[in-house]
């Protein structure tokens, strides 16, 4: 009913007036998408909960169901929402099996990917070194939480992770809370600290194990290891985690799909 003509009451087309650019037409469903994303970010609906039905949202935003549908479709493609026919549309959560494999790309050469045993070696608060600060978009010297852990598969240590988190967002995170939590670490982050990892960028290299890493992974120094540096981002592409992992790829590999 509304917006059968140029979206008047709705969000204005982007593009600052006065600059040389064209008005930058922005379709209605994009604006709806932005509005829903804001609600997600603000926590109007919690991870795992259902959001209002398409009809309700259409009424709320004064657009047709089809327009809301297209907005939700794209948010589902972006893994922010999950559609379930007959039940509703739900806020995506890391506390699900399926979601794990999107972020843990290491797979055994033979056999099914199995659950990992986690061992937390360290969890401390410190002032961010300059490279960490730069990556996390902090000021050098800001507080960060550093976590060091080892992942084992079938009893054998395979992954050594060093993780840095902005201290501001993760107040009260301790090794104990990490150890006690059942389920994936990103599940804890979203449940306890309200920080949702949306996507991540990884840089992968081959390096030689140094003495420290070798010891923790039970390998001689010099063994080739996969170095995986991950920057995790939340809403608005804001960086909220830097992770440097060393993977023993003797009997596991990093799987990737090009499409």
């Amino acid at each position: 009913m509304a917006a059968a003509v140029p979206p008047s009451g709705a969000v204005a087309p982007a593009g600052r007036p006065g600059d040389g650019d064209a008005p930058a037409f922005s379709p209605l469903y994009q604006q709806i998408k932005t509005l829903i994303t804001r609600s997600l970010e603000a926590g109007e609906w919690r991870p795992g909960e259902a959001i209002p039905s398409e009809m309700e949202l259409a009424a709320r935003f004064k657009v047709s169901q089809g327009t809301v549908r297209k907005a939700i479709d794209e948010l589902a493609t972006d893994n922010l929402l999950v559609r379930r026919q007959g039940k509703g549309t739900f806020v995506a959560t890391h506390a699900e099996q399926k979601v794990q494999f999107r972020f843990l790309r290491l797979t055994p050469d033979d056999g099914e990917p199995a659950g990992a045993q986690r061992r937390f070696i360290d969890c401390r608060r410190l002032r961010a070194p300059s490279d960490i600060a730069r990556a996390l978009d902090l000021k050098s010297g800001d507080a960060v939480v550093q976590i060091r852990r080892v992942l084992s598969f079938r009893g054998a240590p395979v992954v050594l992770d060093d993780i840095w988190l902005p201290g501001q967002l993760f107040k009260g995170l301790t090794a104990e809370r990490l150890s006690d939590y059942r389920g994936p670490m990103y599940g804890l982050f979203e449940a306890e600290f309200g920080v949702r990892m949306i996507r991540a960028e990884e840089k992968i290299r081959a390096v030689a194990a140094d003495a420290g890493a070798g010891e923790l992974l039970g390998l001689p120094a010099g063994t080739p290891l996969l170095s995986v540096e991950r920057l995790s981002l939340t809403y608005g592409d804001k960086p909220v985690e830097l992770r440097r992992g060393l993977y023993n790829t003797a009997s596991h590999h990093y799987r990737n799909e090009l499409s």
Copy 2:
């Protein structure tokens, strides 16, 4: 007009009769998608060419424009088609700059990804060893083409690739044709041999350079290298290329996006 009632004249819902499964409802747009894919596979429209307009396809298949649109939308998402507003819908081609970066994931640590210099060391026909045959879904002993090449960036060798292709599909492929061709190798494959790479699966490891690889890449034996094994697939997920690459990641990295 047609199919306002259960799609009668159209493709029947999948599901073998007699088995215990439900009839397995298949939506109209999915059937259209299959039909378009068949035409692509059969070469009705060549890479880079425009396919008929949505209106024309709707008329041909006797469905509404919206249904064709949804089919094309998904094919565009799968990178089989490319939509260009105001111009038409085109068959995706590897002879484009944009497509390169989908398959070449190695990036310099600083600066923009630049073009690679290619040097072909070898190109021969031989009988497939059993592991290669298995990966390519051939019989052990079937003819395959093996290519060995080195990629250099700014004059420094960085990548050593061993590539195996089914001999059946690549008759007449020689080192000379590879060297002479301007543009990406997958561009040559689709233009000269009608083989289109749709997607690929990669397995990544860290390994130590052996003497041979070390020499070709100008590195001491034992240097950690990224091992990238790629299986490329065409329509129907049929494997058509096996590639084993060794990457020197001293000043480059493999970038990946998790989402």
